[in-house]
Symmetry: C2
Subunit: 307 residues, 2 copies
């Protein structure tokens, strides 16, 4: 089944200990869409400016991603500049030029509204809620958010959390949102806000999914998937969105939400995140094959599997 | 097969967000010994002072731990005072009274020297090496160390690492010892210093074992075991030593070192660490049953197991 993602398409200028790139294609919807495209059909709702040209468009087209929902505005595309030191979990932002993204109002083409799987990438929770309302029939809704919304727009975020099935955030965000330094307790508090499941991403240590009692008709025992210990992380930008793309994309491809598919989705999320960070920007995600993905899935499985 | 541990037996005065205790029985050899005692016979080589009485001795006796190697000196037992805030991975040390531990010279009773499994807990690497020399026939030698020895006594530590089979340390220590912020690269450098395997403990995220190429006749693919997401960690003191006790104790009980036993040992390490932190000091480790341990082993397995 197909999946719709609403979020940013952007240019990133990134420095890390492994090098640097200028105006590299990025943005949450881009990472998510490319990642999910290896599992299912993807539609993107986003906004770009006049500097988004055929070269960028070709990246989506090559992966058969539907761009009918891509708005083109006069002005420039969202452009973020940041850098990473030894701590790859934290980017230092050098600049954020929102440009056309500042007045982004997601408009869903009529034929998009019946898409069964929806991912609300990290944007203003009011926009997330607005898109969610237009997609009443969605079978599964995933969402992301960040510190900025958690601390500064909490009430709006709490409204949106009521209509999200699976929230995917990192440790710091989960602790901040739950108001708890203990992770399982923070998870319990976040699940009480609405989501049926909460995926907490631990960077190089993998990710854990926590379930609300009775959600999806399965037990509430958490499940943890690893990440691959990588000798070099060139650029961690987009790892979380790539995780979400693998997670949601795999679920959409199976069209069955049960403990076993959710567990495998956690592994595929980790797999896609591990590919994303191997090269700058979305380069690695542009050129994968499904065989490479399944091969790495097996490596992930070996990493934690007891006979 | 039996196991010998050399390290500290101490009193700990601990504060955490869950409460506080005064002069609670602790020390690396105590945590390790109690933990390993659920798997195999344990001998302890350590030093205590006159304030170590029948009450403390009974804790070891109840677990059938052999104390013939416990030296009794005039003076007081090693006493550490520390506290934990929200970050449970870092203790703030309030005081360290080494007392009789300051002049600890491990003396092995003659009948101890043929013990097949040996664990060198965190003490001066020169003492670790000295014990190792007296135990030439050991089948498997595990060891621990800490920042103090890594930065201040590096040369001595490097000598000791040559005669340790499995080193068990945490992320920060591994990065410091390897001189690398990337964990797999740091692991590679530590393994080049001598150990056949390196267990890196990630606190609440579990632990990973890295292997030197060809070590134990198995492939060099790492293996990761989880920890249990716990609603409350009362006291993280001794979690690492309890992990080591479960890891080494299980291996000693199997008397077979291959990929499958090493993987299970990683899980049992995590299981014992997760029990240790549930109550202050060694209280939880004193009263376990093997059934409880195997039940939790199954929970750990469920936490990461894909069909």
């Amino acid at each position: 089944m197909s999946i719709l993602v609403v979020g940013s398409v952007a240019f990133d200028s990134i420095k890390s200990l492994s090098g640097s790139v200028e105006k590299e294609l990025g943005g949450a919807a881009t990472y998510f869409g490319l990642s999910a495209s290896y599992f299912t059909d993807v539609k993107v709702v986003a906004v770009v400016g006049e500097d988004f040209g055929p070269e960028q468009e070709a990246v989506f087209k090559k992966r058969n991603i539907d761009l009918k929902g891509l708005q083109r505005s006069s002005g420039k595309t969202f452009h973020w500049g940041g850098e990473y030191g030894e701590n790859l979990n934290e980017a230092k932002t050098n600049f954020t030029h929102l440009n056309v993204f500042e007045s982004f109002k997601p408009e869903l083409p009529a034929e998009y509204r019946q898409t069964p799987y929806l991912f609300l990438a990290n944007i203003d929770p009011r926009l997330q809620a607005e898109v969610r309302r237009q997609m009443n029939g969605a079978k599964l809704v995933g969402g992301d958010t960040m510190n900025y919304w958690i601390t500064g727009h909490r009430e709006n975020l709490l409204q949106t959390l009521k209509v999200i099935d699976v929230l995917l955030i990192n440790d710091t965000e989960a602790k901040m949102l739950g108001g708890e330094s203990n992770l399982p307790r923070a998870a319990k508090r976040v699940l009480a806000m609405g989501p049926k499941a909460l995926v907490i991403k631990h960077g190089e240590y993998g990710a854990t999914i926590f379930f609300r009692e009775g959600a999806f008709g399965i037990g509430r025992h958490p499940f943890r998937a690893p990440t691959l210990p990588l000798d070099e992380v060139k650029d961690p930008t987009g790892a979380g969105d790539s995780f979400a793309g693998g997670f949601m994309g795999y679920l959409a491809s199976q069209n069955a939400i049960n403990r076993e598919t959710l567990k495998r989705a956690m592994f595929y999320g980790g797999v896609m995140g591990s590919f994303a960070v191997e090269r700058f920007g979305t380069r690695r995600l542009q050129e994968l094959t499904r065989d490479e993905i399944d091969e790495r899935f097996q490596i992930f499985r070996e990493l934690t599997h007891l006979e």
